[in-house]
Amino acid sequence: MTRGVAVQLTDLRRTYSGVNALDGLTLHLEPGELVALLGPSGCGKTTALRCLAGLEDPDSGRVEVGGKDLTKVSTNKRDMGMVFQAYSLFPHLTARQNVEFGLQLRKQGSEQRRRRSAEMLELVGLSAHVDKYAHQMSGGQQQRVALARALAIEPQVLLLDEPLSALDAKVRTQLRDEIRRIQLEVGTTTLFVTHDQEEALAIADRVGVMRSGKLLQLAAPQELYSRPADDFVADFVGLTNRVVGTSRGTTAEALGASLPLLPGSATEGTVTVLIRPEHLTVTQDAQGSAVVISSSFLGAQGRVVVSPGEDLQQVLVQVPSAAVADFAPGDRVTLRPVGAPALAVARG
């Protein structure tokens, strides 16, 4: 069993013909930690991962793993396991031979290789498919073999670049949980790149949100959700309503109530308050100023879209699924924040 090492990326910059793919990215991974990098398409997640892997040279900045500076070390000497978005099994080799590839390069004997590959393929639940070629396996199975192959060499760091995005929803959640189980079992420091927020929140110890080549916030999933550093993070992670309000320093007036503000909020003037759908309530009220626009049943919960009136933007409210039937379009309602801390940003 390997124990993880710390990873430190310092002020990485990378420009592609004028585009700042990385614009001073600094990121620290604790030993054995799984960090997910999350962000919209083109924000530089893949570039960050490839710089860590040595597949891309940063224009400036430093890559350190386990306290050693690897910035100038080539990929094949970095000792990192990678799983790619595209299927990457060697087509001319069986699952077992794929897993043994890296071990062979490390001059391990055939007996030892065989034992290790059997162990790894069992870990990913593919003991029955060791002699299959890539074209004989499903996408999910291929990615499992790729994971086994990456872990077989006992890498210092495991790098996963959207390994699940080519799979269908059900396999995706299943394999995602399995990746987490395996990662906890082997304890390898892992960087997981994804643009799927649910995926990131579900398996990561900490989630880093990126935008335009910069890291905006790196925090545990709950903290990221309840205490977003800015409105981009709040918008990107989970759903959020933008409501006009007035800031009074540590509180803000919005929707006729006073809300505590999160650190980093705008402290004065007219602001946009970001409120989560589950931090609002609606109640039937013939005298209410808000009007129901629509309501929808989503299985475990329901959602009501409400217009607060006074030509304010529509807001989304989460309700128990049993309550969805109580709200019909046109109903008059009262809208109230439950009083959870919210982020306020200056109106721009």
Partner: protein
Amino acid sequence: MSGIRATRRRRQSVLRWVVVTVSMVFFAAPLAGMLDFTTKDAQGRRTAATWAKLVDVEGISRDYPDLAAGFTASVGLAVLTVVVMLVLLVPTMTWVRLRVPGLSRTVEFLCLLPLTVPAIVLVVGLTPVYSWVTYFLGESTIWLGFAYVILVLPYAYRSIDVGLRAIDVKTLSEAARSLGAGWGRVMVRVVLPNLRTAVLSAAFLAVALTLGEFTIANLFSRTNLQVAMFLLGKSDAQISVAVGLAALVFAFIVLFGLSFVGGRSHSRKENS
């Protein structure tokens, strides 16, 4: 409905057979003529004497030293051409694909260029080059191989390009490198095995082309198989034609083998 389709299918298969038969006759008639010519003696009786002479290796090298030398030279040329072509083309094309995809058009253009240059022009252009080659490396026929590499470049380029397009070279090589393979290992352990069919077909084409090459060798006054046959044709037409027939059949077998190899790996994929 299905009746119409069946009729159409029957009509198509008839057409197919007509085409195959006509082209078979077209190609086979000269071969049959050659076979007929080489199995007759002066009185017009059937004899296998010519073919017996041909398979008698010792006799051949004694009685027709040019032919033996030409044959050896051509085999050597084929090997040299294939080796130089592969060493030149496979890493270059892989590298261009991985690192400088912007250059791929240029490389394609350069590789296809020889198709548009007639052999005679090529010779004129190569003459000064070969005076240097002769100066440094000597007069041996084998050095024609460099010119042949240029000649086979377009065909070899095509087949290797097809092979490279069929695999995700970038991801595969990155996966191999992350597992600890240097560039040499990536080429030998990952790229080449997956280009097997493409490399084989490039090699077969190069062999077939080299064995059949006459113009350049003749104009440079070197004796390869075809030149030897040509010279022999003046003195002993029968043995010359027999060698020609043997060479043709060999080339057919090579090309047939090629389509077999290509077809087999294809069906392996489809079986899944």
